[in-house]
Symmetry: C2
Subunit: 340 residues, 2 copies
């Protein structure tokens, strides 16, 4: 076969807020040569995640910003096409931080895992059986510590992480209340993701809707948005409530930080806890979450939804679309067929 | 002896923010009759605490607001003068929620404890050997969870709680940085309360001073103020930092809540935790804290400072004076001699 081209989505300029299509460029590069200990992965699915906004911003973060001119950092799932590491062989399906590109030459350390659940769709390895599901699992169970009978509120409740949080909370025996934007997402929350109540924050009086949906108050708030949704939920915390800060989707830029109602009094009076969460801190326990999630998916106890678009040309604008709330499920970009 | 008068400081009107002298009135009432199971306490020291602001405000709180016309709720220490409870006898020194008044007829349940550390000044039972010390102990050790070598920052660092926090942190092996208002308090922080560094937040550039005092960042922030001091500290949190929300002294009114820079991004990026703390939740473990504190005081490992004013007429204006930052130690009102 003739030497293929490696299309790469590279960061062209640094956005101050949410990265738009114009901050990227697609460049044709040679497929990298494999060095000893490396594995060549042909990417099939590229992931699009809210966290990618943080990865390209210059502000303080939990990882170094993607350099200008570099391939956009991202999770991806693909097939091993060549290997100079004995742990991997051509034909293995793997997932990891392979970037927005056709081919990645990576060391084994960059591979999160070999995908063993071949009875489940490969695409789930980037969503419900990937970092999204694992984020929901540890964020809710470890940081949120829900107990049966408690009320759990989730923002971006129909999203890739939120939908999983709501369903895990339900499995724990909690009452679940989802907050989402628009009638279609609210319908998904109720019909697909098993929420006891779902609120359309775009429909009007969120304070009133929350009071009606959470008459006893809120024990756990899994927060993917920050902003005015969070302000409304904070007013309804119960004593000893836990607020899991997993994302800040509603804030378009953090430099300078936007202002909002101070939270100290809520936290003090309710002896509540507000805690930031980055799933990477749980890397050595991913297998535990993946095993549980795979079991729940097979039992039909967890549903998920994906929106797959075909073609690498959809990648550059996909983060901005995510922040506009356009997708109705985990957003993936498919750039090759699964069978190769 | 002729029947004495029971002077009472009663709540006259409800303040929306910090209670001032004019929100109270001093009324002469009869000394209460003792009923079966009650103890009559002759108060000697009345406590003045920042938390009393919350007790008189109508807004949501961890306790019911003091009713208009009722004796102001407060901690006090006094001598038992009559008892119809076999557990207490005249001459016992006791501390508890006896209110701003000369005499309190209370059930044993309102008595926090009999004071057994008669080698230490009686007044300490309302400060370093009372709720202030216990607040410092559990707030720092249980919520803040400091580890040797970490940097602990304390706001109102020379106050009754803050000064104790700083010294306990030092005993744990932490580096301590105190934030206080004015040169005299900063001097106390350094010379009496053993802080490694002390910052006068009134002196100018707090951001710069914090950066210089905490070059590695902040692991534990014990927050008694909220407001702009907290905003400055939040910017310097280290990964996995803990913020103990113990008080909000710098905020004059919470209704409506004032705005400030949103904290979500700091918490997320640093995987930090911000948690409210009310010492009453630890009531069944006070003895553990008091034993430790008494030991440290006797060893000279914890110093304290008190400002005692004589006369119940000083009580009404004392909360406002506290919030103006006028006192240089635990503020107490002495209304009778210790020996009776």
């Amino acid at each position: 076969m003739s030497q293929p081209i490696n299309r790469q989505v590279r960061l062209k300029s640094r956005p101050s807020g949410i990265p738009q299509a114009e901050h990227f460029e697609i460049v044709a590069a040679p497929v990298p040569e494999l060095r000893e200990g490396q594995v060549l992965v042909r990417n099939i699915y590229l992931s699009v995640d809210p966290a990618m906004r943080g990865w390209v911003n210059a502000a303080a973060n939990y990882s170094e910003p993607v350099p200008i001119g570099a391939v956009m950092r991202s999770f991806a799932t693909g097939r091993v096409v060549a290997s100079r590491d004995p742990a991997y062989a051509p034909g293995d399906y793997v997932t990891g931080m392979f970037g927005w590109q056709d081919y990645a030459a990576v060391h084994a350390a960059s591979i999160d895992r070999k995908i063993v659940e071949r009875d489940l769709p490969l695409s789930t390895s980037l969503g419900v059986l990937g970092l999204n599901g694992v984020t929901a699992y540890f964020g809710l169970l470890e940081v949120g510590q829900p107990k049966a009978g408690e009320t759990v509120v989730v923002s971006t409740a129909s999203g890739a992480v939120g939908s999983c949080v709501g369903q895990i909370a339900k499995l724990v025996g909690c009452r679940t209340v989802g907050i989402a934007g628009g009638a279609e997402k609210v319908r998904l929350c109720r019909e697909l993701f098993r929420y006891d109540e779902a609120i359309d924050y775009k429909a009007g009086d969120l304070d009133h809707a929350l009071a009606a949906a959470c008459p006893e108050g809120v024990d756990v708030y899994f927060d993917n948005t920050a902003g005015s949704i969070t302000d409304a939920v904070m007013k309804r915390l119960r004593p000893h409530a836990r607020v899991v800060i997993c994302g800040t989707a509603s804030i378009s830029a953090w430099d300078p930080p936007p202002e909002g109602p101070r939270v100290e009094r809520h936290l003090l009076v309710k002896r509540a806890r507000m805690q930031g969460f980055v799933v990477l801190d749980y890397a050595d326990r991913y297998h535990e979450a993946l095993e549980a999630l795979a079991g729940w998916i097979r039992e039909g106890a967890i549903d998920y939804r994906e929106e797959i678009v075909d073609g690498i040309e959809h990648a550059p604008g996909s983060i901005a679309a995510l922040y506009r709330g356009e997708n109705l499920g985990k957003r993936l970009v498919r750039i090759a067929s699964e069978s190769g």
